[in-house]
């Protein structure tokens, strides 16, 4: 953009104000400007700050936010015809600003609503007075798939159904906020709201710092404390239950688990024993007292809910019935998301609370009642009509939900006929126009429709409202384009005060004091994945080393069929590594497996560790397209080795040395022991081709050590001495065994204190046997047996800890 086309009195070059060029849409409320085009008070200093930065620098700043999101690996999953894909997080960079006085009104309205919902659930799953009095139609509740009969009559262990809820709001043309929909099942997005905040403040740290914006951390801290308090009463732990890495918001589950320090579990990690929900850990079964579920209740227990569920825990409902575990939210809470229920809320509010709703829902008519049906049919052009039992927001549900005014005459007649035949199945809702908020496009601010998701968490002091939230913003002016699955964007929400706000963090404050607690028990599945991650990474490295030694020689020789090269080809082939391709698919597969294993336990990874691993995978896939055998492959393998070392270094230097790290380390050491034993057996056997011993030293990264240690040419005995029996060489077999002995000895004892596990006995015997060996004792056969024995150790560990 040309600078200096306007000059302030002070002479500072300045582009035309963003505000002056902003064009809100006639007849639609705008968040930033009022009807006469003036900036609302909460926005004034913000717009001034954006103007001061200028369009060009703003563009750079916003790119910084995107970079942060990429670096942090924030993604969500989109389901498309071609399958599910990870998408970068679509941040709309300009936050939505709301004055704290207006926010206080919204908060009060939502707290009232959350309390009302709690009372409705307690009634529907309890004495059923609303049905008895004819306020709620029995047929509507009974037909809802979210009404879960196995928990009817079950009072939640902690006395409450709802603990974390979200409400979707929109502002109508008259400037009032309306509730568009309710999220009571397992609301998503609270973690994304945090990431939006981090990314947005990356871009606008100075602006954010100067304005008085309410912080989000306190909300999460209070909720975490509330969960821990509930768990303490139950004598168990808190866990987050996720459907797994294929879920659209898995990233968020892992993020929240990491942020709050809560165990992230999948259904198969859990079992029910003696009526209690337990997690399988490497220290045995541990009780769970609070299950913050991120999966829909219907999938939580295949025995009593949907039998086809593969992600549930058999017996969970029984544990809940016995009151030994609290689900957050209680199973069955999803009922409150039912669209048709909106039409009954005003009357229920008066009945149960003696009060009107401060924050009304979008006007809704259930066509199962005659007067309502007549109203919908008479006003269908001003309605959005959809399935009565749907739990999706109207604008997320374009297949089944239709905008009356957009129908052709034929479609309209068909819809009317269907409503007349099956009124119970339909609701009509007033077609709403959402307010607009500015997005930054091509150096300008432009209006886009927005909806707002606000989160409430139950604490011992009552509902806490997250001061901020998650705004969904359309790419176009079409209000149905807001839904994330259809390509909407997300924006941070700033609740702005005119006074300084409390700066909260999740970290304990100076005066809190602290005690160091050891990390909780490691779930068995996580231990298994960590072990395999270690094995896959090590296997990749060992394969890369052999391949590099191969291609170095291939590049230098005029005879590609020389015995040593042929020998390596034969050696690698049974392991699925075919050297004819410079980057063998077998190697790519091993690295992909490492990424997969890590992806199963993402809550245990720092963003840096995850990025390093993704980079490894991306690099090898890229190499696979371009790299040729010989010199080219040698260079590629060197790059891979460097990156592998980088990843290992990250883990080695940064990972907390507790049980999780131990399993990773055990995996690495097992694999390295196996690989070295196998390669040694091949390259030091009687009749190994010329040059094999030098190659072995190179693969074992021990050329220099050998030169220093042994004043002779490499011979079979010196090579075996250095790579099998030298306890100081980090690539020797004995070194791996010593490390394994140490780490296995530190694992939780399964059969009680002082009891030696089968794996501990095996490694002790193996280590002792090898420690007293001489190089001359080590035939190729002995080495092969040794590789098998180290592999057997894995089975003993798996049996003891991963079962």
């Amino acid at each position: 953009m040309a600078k200096g086309n306007q000059r302030r009195a002070g002479g500072r070059p300045r582009a035309q104000s963003l505000l002056e060029r902003y064009r809100p849409i006639e007849g639609i409320a705008d968040e930033m400007v009022d009807a006469s085009g003036n900036a609302r008070p909460a926005w004034r200093s913000f717009i001034g700050a954006l103007d001061d930065l200028g369009a060009e620098r703003l563009g750079q700043r916003f790119a910084r936010a995107d970079q942060y999101l990429r670096d942090a690996g924030v993604y969500y999953r989109v389901y498309e015809q071609a399958g599910a894909n990870e998408r970068e997080w679509p941040l709309a960079h300009v936050p939505l600003l709301i004055d704290e006085k207006e926010w206080a009104e919204i908060s009060a309205g939502l707290v009232q609503r959350a309390d009302l919902f709690e009372a409705i659930l307690a009634d529907v799953y309890g004495p059923n007075r609303l049905v008895e009095k004819g306020i709620l139609p029995a047929g509507l509740i009974a037909a809802s798939p979210e009404y879960l009969r196995p928990v009817a009559g079950v009072r939640p262990a902690n006395g409450h159904f709802l603990h974390m809820v979200a409400f979707e709001l929109g502002r109508g043309p008259d400037g009032r906020w309306w509730v568009l929909g309710d999220r009571t099942q397992a609301p998503s997005g609270a973690g994304f709201a945090l990431e939006n905040r981090v990314a947005t403040t990356r871009a606008l740290s100075d602006v954010y710092g100067e304005m008085h914006v309410h912080r989000l951390a306190g909300f999460f801290r209070r909720f975490r404390d509330a969960l821990n308090g509930m768990a303490k009463e139950s004598g168990g732990r808190v866990a987050i239950l996720t459907p797994g890495p294929l879920n659209e918001t898995y990233y968020e589950h892992a993020y929240i688990a990491r942020y709050l320090g809560i165990m992230l579990l999948e259904g198969e990690d859990l079992t029910v024993s003696g009526g209690r929900l337990m997690v399988r850990t490497v220290s045995g079964l541990m009780p769970i007292g609070v299950l913050w579920r991120r999966l829909d209740a219907a999938f939580a227990d295949p025995l009593e809910l949907r039998p086809e569920s593969q992600i549930g825990t058999p017996g969970l409902v029984e544990a809940i019935r016995r009151g030994t575990v609290s689900a957050v939210n209680a199973l069955g809470s999803g009922l409150m998301e039912t669209r048709a229920l909106l039409s009954f809320l005003p009357r229920i509010a008066r009945e149960l609370k003696g009060d009107d709703l401060n924050l009304p829902s979008i006007a809704t008519w259930w066509c199962g009642q005659e007067a309502a049906r007549a109203h919908v049919l008479a006003n269908i052009d001003r309605m959005v009509v959809g399935p009565a039992l749907s739990t999706r927001l109207a604008f997320e549900d374009d297949g089944a939900t239709r905008l009356g005014s957009s129908l052709s005459a034929g479609e309209r007649a068909e819809l009317v006929a269907r409503i007349e035949a099956d009124g119970d199945g339909f609701v009509g809702q007033e077609a709403v126009t959402l307010s607009t908020t500015p997005v930054f496009v091509g150096g300008l601010l432009e209006p886009r429709p927005a909806s707002l998701r606000v989160y409430l968490a139950r604490t011992p002091e009552g509902w806490a409202v997250m001061p901020g939230g998650f705004a969904r913003i359309g790419f176009s002016l079409d209000p149905t384009a807001i839904a994330m699955q259809r390509g909407g964007q997300a924006a941070d929400v700033w609740v702005v005060s005119d006074r300084p706000v409390e700066r909260e963090t999740l970290l304990p404050q100076e005066h809190d004091g602290f005690t160091r607690t050891m990390p909780g028990s490691l779930p068995s599945r996580a231990a298994e994945n960590l072990t395999w991650l270690g094995r896959y990474i090590e296997r990749s490295e060992d394969t890369v080393r052999v391949l590099r030694a191969y291609h170095v020689r291939l590049a230098e020789t005029s005879d590609p069929d020389m015995p040593l090269l042929a020998d390596i080809r034969d050696y690698l082939e049974p392991f699925g590594i075919e050297v004819e391709t410079a980057i063998p698919p077998g190697l790519i597969g091993t690295l992909d497996s490492a990424v997969y294993s890590a992806g199963q336990i993402r809550d245990r990874f720092s963003p840096d560790g995850w990025l390093a691993l993704k980079d490894l995978s991306k690099t090898i896939h890229k190499f696979a397209e371009t790299v040729a055998p010989g010199d080219d492959a040698t260079r590629a393998m060197t790059v891979m080795l460097r990156k592998l070392a980088g990843f290992s270094g990250l883990l080695h230097e940064n990972m907390y040395r507790f049980t999780g790290w131990r399993f990773l380390e055990i995996g690495r050491r097992l694999e390295r022991g196996i690989q070295i034993a196998r390669t040694l057996s091949q390259l030091t056997r009687n009749g190994a081709p010329e040059g094999a011993l030098d190659m072995m030293l190179e693969i074992g990264d021990s050329v220099m050590t050998h030169r220093r240690q042994y004043p002779v040419q490499a011979g079979r005995r010196t090579v075996i001495d250095l790579l099998a029996l030298d306890p100081l060489n980090p690539r020797s077999i004995l070194f791996q065994l010593e490390r394994l002995k140490a780490e296995i000895g530190m694992l939780p004892s399964i059969g009680g204190e002082g009891h030696m596990s089968a794996a501990a006995k095996e490694i002790l015997q193996l280590n002792t046997a090898i420690a007293v060996m001489e190089p001359s004792d080590m035939s190729a056969g002995t080495l092969d047996d040794l590789a098998g024995q180290i592999g057997g150790l894995y089975n003993s560990l798996a049996k003891a800890y991963f079962g």
Binding site: A138, G139, I141, A143, P150, S273, P314, G315, E318
Partner: protein, 291 residues
Amino acid sequence: MLYDIKLHLHYDYAAAAGGGRHQVRVMPQTIAGVQRVIAASLSFQPTPAERADFSDFFGNNVTSIAFRDAHETLDIRMSARVSVSRPEPGLDVSPDISGLKSELDTVRSLSPSAPHHFLAASDHVGIDAAITAYARDSLSGSTVATAVDLCNRIHRDFAYDGKATTVQTRASDAFALKRGVCQDFSHIMIAGLRGLGIPAGYVSGFLRTIPPKGKPRLEGADAMHAWIRAWCGRDAGWQEFDPTNGMRASNDHITVGYGRDYSDVAPIVGVLKTTGGQVGEQAVDVIPVAA
């Protein structure tokens, strides 16, 4: 009538099951005005590590069992002495379909026997246009008359065939096949009634094995049996029909439980840790006891 009922369920697992959890619904229940359970017992081999009894939403007796150790077989044995004494179907006081709809709206209840639970589609029984059209031909005056006619037509139009379907078969598939067993006929009748707006549910139970002299042997007697119940208005209430035999439920029908369809009241549901398949066998004896 007084009966001694014996049930034996036997499962062979292709690969030893490492553990598992099941819910078993095979115990008859005492139902006021219909039947009384005098004695009953349920045993398992091997002995489960955990066992708990409870009543489910519909009031059915459920035994929940869990195994932790490997086992290759599972044997479930139930025996019960039950006295059945159903009232004779009296005068037909049921309304027609539109009357039924208005009566339904006046039932303000979600109690286990409230008709509202039995009107919407359920797991095995969808609302199916073809079945609804078939059922519409039975519409005749009262709700009870409609149900009786539909029950008789299903008995007449469908062939009993133990090989045509499985426990997983849905009503629409069995309807297209025009064959099946008691479970399928019950599902088809339930789908038909619901399609007409008549609340209908599934009844699981036993049928007397030894035919009285001069009468034909009733089909479906050597396994657990299933029939249906339809809600026929505030006064007539729930009436039970057996479409497999084209009759109303009699004193030969011993009730285990009620549900929206088979899946609510399956004799055994469970999740096993095993790699192979399983083979199940079932043996049922219903022996009348001389009073």
